[in-house]
Amino acid sequence: MVKKGVPDWLNSSLWSSPQPPSSNDVVESHEPPASADVKSAVVESIVEPPVPVPPPSVTRIVEPPSSSVHSSTASVKGEIRDPLSSHNGNNNYGNTNFNNYNSEEENGISNNSSTAPIPAVGANTGAVVAPAASSLAEDISSQAQLLQELSRKIINMGELRRIASQGIPDGAGIRSTVWKLLLGYLPPDRTLWSSELAKKRSQYNHFKEELLMYPSDITRKLEKSSLENSEPYGESKGFLSRSEITHGEHPLSLGKSSVWNMFFQDTEIIEQIDRDVKRTHPDMHFFSGDSTVAKSNQEALKNILIVFAKLNPGIRYVQGMNEILAPLFYVFKNDPSEENAVSAEADTFFCFVELLSGFRDNFVQQLDNSVVGIRATITRLSQLLKEHDEELWRHLEITTKVNPQFYAFRWITLLLTQEFNFADSLHIWDTLLSDPDGPQETLLRVCCAMLVIVRRRLLAGDFTSNLKLLQHYPSTNISHLLYVASKLRTHVAG
């Protein structure tokens, strides 16, 4: 089993898969040393031929141990077919990748053109058949693994993280459960789930009742006793009796502790939350539009943000929180289990709090310039880039003077939700949430990977074109991006 040293992957940025442990004849294929163990563990139960993308300079392709289709051009197709044939029995997952490529494979398209879309060195177009097929086979395997892991009585979090970091398949509500586990909302012990969920959900409803009440109702509650006495329509005629107000509470009260005053102060925040929620993902029917579904979803988002703002007077609401909230709510609401979907709002609230706890400091304005604030984080990104790719760093920062704040601010504070389409950002979040290093660190690595992947274009560009490129990041193959990001981790170590 030959493991070649990692070639200069920075310049070639190619996709490659690991060798199965049993394969013998290996060509120069790029080999991720650390993640090979990870991936080979995943695939070892499945006979999966690696499907490396042949770079233009390489001629031979690895032979899959189980099949015998081997010509350099047809082998790609053949290798694609093989994992499928061995998994034909398992191809009922609602896996979008699978569905996309299924027809191609089953029809046995003799597409040497399938080799055509293999990315040229350094480019990063998304539609690559070969690696997608391997990822789809991996999807099936990871889905099986996840289901197996989730069905255990006590879930091994480390194992779950490992599997989840490769991407969680879209179907069967797995993502919803896995995210809840990763964010610590559900305990690893399955038996505790129902009690925990019930407790948390009722707590959220309690919050809602308390915090979303109108002041008139609050004052009414305060004076319950005196209300019993006053008979609203006692006599049919006569002067209405005036009664004392309780606690000096009246709508125009300017007292700091007045319920009414606080209500009006909160109204501003509520208005801003309302505006932002209406603008969240306007292209998605789930969030936007006139349907009752969209309206109720918006209502739920609003409630979560309002409750959060009221419970956290230090940070309140900052624009952008709605973007971080949206994927969470989407995933939880689309849980096929009816019970979970109904309580999606409560679950999302707690997971949102958990997720934000790591990133709070990015939203606090006073901390902007401090060691934990957003500026420091951006500087760390810059440092990371410098360590891995000094040439690019120099070109960006010094030659073209693209201040990382111009692009990285949005990447970091919004956890990349605005840079990629929704499905891709869910995939990225799988990795962010499951990485044992923590979301902050992983995020920086992914950002660095984003820069590295487009390095050719960046190196060739000036300030304007670079800024334009980075602020409208081109769509790329997410698996490739995440792979590069994971390599960044090992590269530093090695």
């Binding site: 049919s236 009664s243 009246h250 709508p251 125009l252 300017l254």
Partner: protein
């Protein structure tokens, strides 16, 4: 939860130079959704000031108003309640509750807001409730000199109204409230 301010008889600048400062500090924009004014502002500047407190302003014509084109009576619906405004100098005897009840039946409103007497009253009879917010500047009236500045804020919430009465007595703002409920919904119009 709709906040409706009812005030009137300011007689600015003739009889009162300004609202009491304590009232003015409370009347900040953004809190109140509607203003019902019984009339006798009298000048345009007061109208503009009230517009800054709340853009939705309903005024009835008072006999001293310099703007002559306000309506004599006005009705509007807020939530489940129909409200009517009239200055009150047209209803004779001034301030007589039975006569005001007649006007209320005529306008077919649940709450009638009138002024002219510069005295706060809140009276209930079979047809509904009559509220007189008094004079917000405390200016003298045709009837009496002894007037405390006062105005009324109604919190309309479904079938319930909480009426907060703000009065300036001896330089201090005193707030009382009155609670009442309506028994029937407004019947939906069939068309």
């Amino acid at each position: 939860m709709v906040l409706v301010l009812a005030l009137g008889d300011l007689h600015m600048p003739h009889r009162g130079s300004d609202l009491p400062l304590k009232f003015k500090s409370m009347l900040v924009p953004g809190k109140i959704q509607h203003i019902i004014c019984t009339g006798n502002l009298c000048i345009k500047e007061v109208h503009d000031y009230l517009k800054t407190v709340c853009p939705d302003l309903h005024i009835a014509q008072g006999e001293y108003d310099e703007e002559t084109r306000f309506p004599e009576t006005k009705t509007l619906t807020i939530g489940q309640f129909k409200l009517g405004v009239c200055h009150g100098h047209q209803v004779i005897p001034w301030g007589d509750l039975d006569s005001l009840a007649m006007l209320q039946r005529q306008l077919d409103v649940d709450i009638l807001v009138t002024g002219h007497t510069h005295q706060f009253t809140a009276y209930k009879h079979e047809a509904g409730v009559v509220i007189n917010p008094g004079s917000a500047t405390g200016s003298y009236s045709s009837i009496t000199y002894d007037v405390n500045p006062s105005f009324v804020l109604m919190d309309i919430d479904g079938l319930r109204v909480v009426v907060y009465v703000y009065e300036l007595i001896d330089g201090e703002v005193k707030v009382d409230k009155i609670d009442f409920k309506k028994t029937t919904d407004i019947k939906p119009l069939t068309h």
